[in-house]
């Protein structure tokens, strides 16, 4: 057991070192691609906390991304905050938003919660669109440009995103081992039974959603600084959340590393496919989504653990059919 652990820790260190060395080895374009992959991995791993562990389908989670992005933009432009100040306040505001909304919304279960989060995302996006005098409306808003060499800037964003990803994975790991993690999984499996055995579901769910929102908000803030131009349609884009769901499910919902693996796999496919079939790109993503749900609903990690076989797949399919 001890030995096996050491092996995994060594492998982990190697991967981290590899990522640290990466921007020195690859060209500018690939640095940006990797940064965007890292970004998806963070959003997915943050989503995993509420959707994977607690089983609440927060399809509108991207609202926190938008809030982080807009807070950063507004604070930098209108108050003159440094970018990191804006990002941190953005994360905190997203967490507060999650707590305030979570108190009523997290009482809803199943589809109703999913739809409520979609509605929140839509309403917040519309407010950002209609309140043009403050947010810049549909025309979007341009942030102050960084005062440094562009290559250096992209490398810096890369390291920030990587740091955020490490933080998110660490948070996931700690939750999975903590009382909160066990409580969340109990809630996912049977909320009434969890409550009967002395868990306060409301408190646990709100904590989980706030953590998830905080991490997503931070990422949104960094994204705003990175792109230096944001508009409601990009930062509140529901497709980001939907993609995050597929990545999470492909990797394995409720596992620590699964969502990150899923994000890397889908984004790499997406990036290589994008170049070749520009028009078919979205259709291929759709097909991947359908295939993931039908063929490996429990995720890759689970599939590797119990030896993949076509016969097993067929048996599973027949079992879960109506």
């Amino acid at each position: 057991m001890q030995r096996k652990n050491t092996k995994w820790v060594m492998l982990g260190c190697l991967v981290v070192l590899g990522f640290v060395a990466l921007p020195f080895l690859i060209e500018g374009y690939w640095v940006r691609v990797t940064t965007s992959i890292l970004m998806y991995a963070i959003v997915t791993a943050a989503l995993n906390i509420i959707a994977g562990f607690a089983g609440y389908a927060a399809f509108g989670n991207i609202v926190f991304f938008g809030i982080g992005a807009y807070t950063t933009a507004m604070l930098m432009l209108r108050v003159g905050f440094p970018w990191w100040g804006g990002v941190i306040v953005g994360g905190l505001l997203a967490a507060i938003y999650a707590i305030l909304l979570g108190i009523p919304i997290l009482r809803l279960r199943g589809h109703y919660f999913a739809i409520a989060t979609l509605g929140i995302n839509r309403a917040t996006e519309q407010i950002a669109l209609d309140w043009g005098s403050f947010t810049g409306g549909g025309k979007g808003i341009t942030l102050p440009l960084p005062k440094m060499e562009i290559q250096q800037f992209y490398a810096m964003i890369y390291f920030i995103m990587f740091g955020l990803l490490l933080l998110t994975v660490l948070v996931n790991f700690m939750i999975s081992r903590s009382r909160l993690g066990y409580a969340l999984r109990a809630i996912r499996d049977n909320e009434d039974a969890a409550e009967a055995s002395g868990i306060f579901p409301a408190r646990c769910k709100i904590t989980a959603w706030a953590i998830s929102a905080f991490l997503t908000g931070l990422t949104g803030g960094v994204f705003a600084y990175w792109f230096s131009f944001i508009e409601p349609a990009t930062v509140f884009d529901i497709m980001i959340a939907v993609k995050a769901f597929v990545m999470m499910m492909l990797g394995g919902a409720g596992t620590v590393l699964g969502p990150v693996l899923g994000a890397f796999l889908i984004e790499l496919i997406s990036e290589t496919v994008w170049g070749k079939f520009l028009t078919l790109h979205m259709m291929i993503l759709g097909v991947i989504m359908v295939a993931v749900v039908i063929l490996i609903p429990k995720g890759m990690l689970d599939m590797f653990r119990r030896k993949f076989s076509l016969a097993g797949l067929w048996r599973n399919l027949k079992n879960q059919a109506v």
Binding site: A51, A57, F59, P104, I105, R107, L108, G110, H111, Y112, A114, I115, A116, L118, G119, I120, R122, A123, Q126, I127, D130, I238, V242, F245, V246, M249, A253, T279, L280, M282, M283, L285, G286, V287, I288, M289, V290, V292, V293, I294, P297, L317, Q320, A321, V322
Partner: protein
């Protein structure tokens, strides 16, 4: 003036009812949120557009055609894809239909390109006047067809064996299975009917407004709001919710202007979810 606004609200509400009836049926019976419903409406509109452009078929006469096409799409989607995930939880069916939605949107985009399309028969701008109210013929016909379709659905659900089987399955899947209902087949038929209603709705919408392959998201958001507002799982819920939303939106736009309209309807939906989670007339299909 008030009467005119109310009437416009009623016309809009009729379309909303039509948008939501099929969506609510699939949700109520199978507990599946069919995100593709919006795009199915768009496909219906394109069927009408295609028949109008190639054969010159009157858009109202193409309703059966788009219903047939959409019934097949819905039936096949349910039989070969959705039936495998209905039982294992809500993530699965949501992500699956999101994926399917992307496939549908891009197929339509591939066939018809992303240009704005509209169906304009000769009578599309004509209207008559009653007192001070103007009533466009097309809108009136749309209203009548919505009423007929909803009535037919009600009759189908209560008077035919298949309709009764659908209601039985909705109430209790296991019990229905025990008394010999083929649940898999009933589910496929349910999504087929749901999609066919979307197709009819699309045909009607194609006459009223112009459309692109990407319009589905707008319709699906309306369907969410209406189902939440009226309550899930029966036809009267969709009718009440649709008419209410249509009238409230028209009146709201008149009183407050069109800005913030969508934000307001989304906020209303969230408030209804919190304070009235069963909607105004919500219950299971009975």
């Amino acid at each position: 003036m008030f009467l005119q606004v109310l009437l416009n609200g009623l016309f809009l509400g009729a379309i909303y009812v039509n948008i939501a009836v099929g969506f609510s049926l699939a949700w109520g019976v199978m507990d599946v949120i069919n995100v593709t419903h919006g795009t199915m409406i768009v496909i219906g509109a394109y069927v009408t557009f295609f028949l109008f452009k190639t054969v010159g078929l009157d858009p109202f006469l193409s309703i059966p055609a788009s219903m047939a096409v959409l019934f097949c799409i819905g039936y096949i989607s349910q039989k070969y894809l959705l039936n495998f995930v209905v039982k294992i939880g809500i993530f699965m069916s949501l992500v699956l239909t999101f994926g399917l939605d992307l496939v549908f949107i891009n197929s339509v985009l591939f066939i018809f390109t992303g240009d704005y399309r509209s169906v304009t028969p000769a009578y599309s701008g004509t209207f008559f006047e009653v007192g001070k109210m103007t009533i466009p013929y097309v809108r009136l016909a749309t209203l009548v067809i919505c009423i007929v379709l909803t009535g037919l659905l009600q009759l189908f659900m209560t008077r035919t064996r298949t309709g009764q089987a659908i209601r039985a399955t909705s109430q209790n899947r296991q019990a229905a299975e025990m008394i010999g209902v083929n649940v898999a087949r009933i589910y496929s038929i349910t999504l087929g009917i749901s999609a066919a209603l979307a197709g009819a709705c699309g045909s009607l919408i194609s006459i009223v407004q112009s459309f692109t392959p990407f319009e589905g998201g707008f319709f699906i958001m309306k369907a969410f709001i209406i189902c939440v507002l009226g309550g899930l799982g029966n036809i009267s819920g969709a009718v009440v919710g649709g008419l209410l939303l249509g009238i409230v939106e028209t009146m709201g736009a008149r009183a407050l202007g069109t800005g913030f309209q969508e934000a307001i309807s989304a906020i209303i939906m969230i408030l209804v979810l919190i304070f009235l989670p069963k909607g105004i007339v919500g219950s299971k299909y009975k």
